[in-house]
Amino acid sequence: MPTHESAGQGSATVDHLAPDLARTMYRHMRTARDLDTEAVALQRQGVFPAYVSVRGQEAAQVAAATALDPSRDFVFPTYREMAVALAYGVEMVGYMATHRALWHGGLYDAMESRFGAINAVVGGPVPHAVGWAVGERLRGGEGVALACFGDGASSEGDVHEAMNFAGVYGAPVVFFCQNNRWALSVPNERQVAGGSVAARAAGYGMPGVAVDGNDAGAVHRAVSEAAERARRGEGPTLVEALTYRVEPHSTSDDSARYRDEAEAERWRRHRDPVDLMRRALIEAGYAGEAELDRIDAEARARAEEIRDGVSTAPEPDGSELFTHVYRETTQELARQRRIWQEEVRL
């Protein structure tokens, strides 16, 4: 069975982290939290047609991102990876643009960021991570792919096929499952046979680690170790971060229809990852209240700046419909573009 590290402790472990790193993680978590709050507000104001909150998953996301090396690794995200993006260094106005529906995949440069386009197919990008990782080994590189997916996604065939491929090829992949207990309205009990995603790893001959997903330090350790294993050529690891989706699935969802919101409330109150991290920093002597307040203020400013950026970003021109379909366009598509020009743009 997979190792459970500090699951359910209700605390964050930071002693093994350099103080600087721990503070940086806190800063990202706080920024993500504020940006999340701004995003929910933007949706209420009608600026975003919809938004998927990462609230409560900041520890898991920031820790995974900061355990990687953005100069050589590559992240394959889902649609709920805002704090991973932020902590990994993705240009955030471009990232948030997806929520304003400016461009499905986001407006950041996926290749420059080494952070794939936002992907809405549950499970779909996981094999991409394996392909990237196989390719990385083939060219002798030392990069590691992080494959993000949810507990619901673990049911998809693609995730299984990807894990089996990674095992067979010994590919440098970290399968990073954020188990937030819910896949839209379906809880783990009716989603994950056997109850543990991490437990699936053994069947592919790879280590599986279940870790407290609200403990940033624990997740950081687990992902770091998995990444280092992969980098050493020892193959894939599955890390399951046990956390909780405290918000509804998206702003279009009403979670009161299918769950007891008191449970979410308990997670918000007693296991909020940002609070836990703040407390741990102070207890470890890594930062004082004043310094943390300063970081909080900076985080707020950064979040507001991103909010303003995405709110005022220009809408893409309609011609972009046609620009990126092919590298080398076709006569037929050029003809259709003319029709668009004459009949739609007017």
């Binding site: 499970g123 309205s185 229809r257 299918y258 259709q336 739609v344």
Partner: protein
């Protein structure tokens, strides 16, 4: 086979008129089906406790229990594969796949298994499966939530395919689809889920494959299905102000296609414009165009015009209205065919 009689015709007098949205009409139909046939099962992602992301299955689990209406894990291929096995054990499965774009992971089960199990077993194992698939675009949704897969389904031997355009048809056609012993893909136009309309809850009284003249006219026939029917009616209303009388034919059944109904209309109007959301190339508009031309070559005064989505991936919000056929594009195509 086109039904020319209006909804108020005599044979439908008994059906009561109620005000319903399509989402409610589908819900009503499911309720009728679950009540009348203990073999009907409704399942899919989030259709149980939640009642579906569009609330189409709202209240069904409460009313019929979690053995008749239940959630599945998140795996589209297994949902359709499970439907096959349930059908082989005597059930009448009504699975939902949550969105059009997430039918792709299930295409193998749909094409290689659902559509041909009756054939493979020489009729021993019929597949009375109705796949409910919220479809088409127009609601500014995320990627993969606005796709039109009808051409793929219509190309698949063994499937039948239907797309209602209003709450009344949604109700009646779903009854017909689920009661059929053949597998049917039932495509619900998401963009039309919410508008409430006076609806007659009619029992099916036309054969599968019957189209419907939504608005009679004589200068050209607009052919459409799903949400585009409404748009064509709007275009026809505008054209009427200029004295151009457009007939709007709601194809409804995309397989089998009502070739006779199509031909009868175009024989009268001598001109046709087919409108759909899917990309142009190899879209179902090509089939309509080919069929009409084959059956009405001598009558046709102009080539059938196609007004469709462009050959590009379905775009995000702000570009959606520029991708989908607009009323202007429909009217320009009408003009082209009239001036040909």
């Amino acid at each position: 086979m086109t039904e020319l009689i209006d909804r108020t015709g005599t044979e439908t007098q008994e059906a009561p008129v109620v005000e319903l949205s399509m989402q409610q009409a589908v819900n009503r139909a499911l309720r009728v089906l679950l009540a009348e046939d203990p073999d009907v099962l409704v399942f899919g992602e989030d259709v149980g406790t939640l009642g579906g992301v569009f609330r189409v299955t709202d209240g069904l689990q409460k009313e019929f229990g979690d053995r008749r209406v239940f959630d599945t894990p998140l795996a589209e291929s297994a949902i359709m594969g499970m439907a096959v096995g349930l059908a082989m054990n005597g059930w009448r499965p009504v699975p939902e796949l949550q969105f059009d774009g997430f039918a792709y992971p299930a295409i193998d089960q749909i094409v290689n298994q659902v559509a041909r199990m009756n054939y493979r077993t020489r009729g021993a194992a019929p597949m009375p499966i109705t796949l409910r698939l919220p479809s088409f675009g127009g609601i500014q949704a995320p990627e993969h939530h606005g796709e039109s897969l009808e051409a793929i389904f219509a190309h698949t031997p063994g499937l039948k395919v239907v797309a209602p355009s209003d709450p009344g048809d949604a109700y009646t056609l779903l009854l017909q689809a689920v009661r059929s012993d053949d597998p049917v893909v039932y495509m619900e136009p998401k963009a039309r889920y919410w508008e409430r309309r006076p609806v007659q809850l009619r029992e099916p009284d036309e054969p599968i494959g019957t189209s419907r003249i939504v608005r009679p006219g004589r200068h050209a026939t607009l052919v459409a299905w799903g949400a585009m029917v409404h748009r064509c009616v709007q275009a026809a209303e505008l054209a009427a102000e200029d004295g151009v009388e457009l007939e709007v034919l709601d194809l409804r059944w995309l397989k089998p296609i009502d070739a006779e109904g199509l031909a009868a209309s175009v024989a009268r109007t001598r001109r046709a414009v087919v409108v759909h959301e899917a990309p142009l190339t190899a879209g179902l508009g090509a089939e309509v165009s080919a069929l009409v031309t084959e059956n009405c070559f001598r009558d046709l005064a102009a080539p059938v015009q196609r007004v469709t989505g462009f050959d590009v991936p379905y775009p995000a919000g702000p570009l959606e209205p520029q991708y989908l056929p607009t009323i202007d594009r429909i009217l320009l195509a009408v003009q082209r065919t009239l001036e040909f």
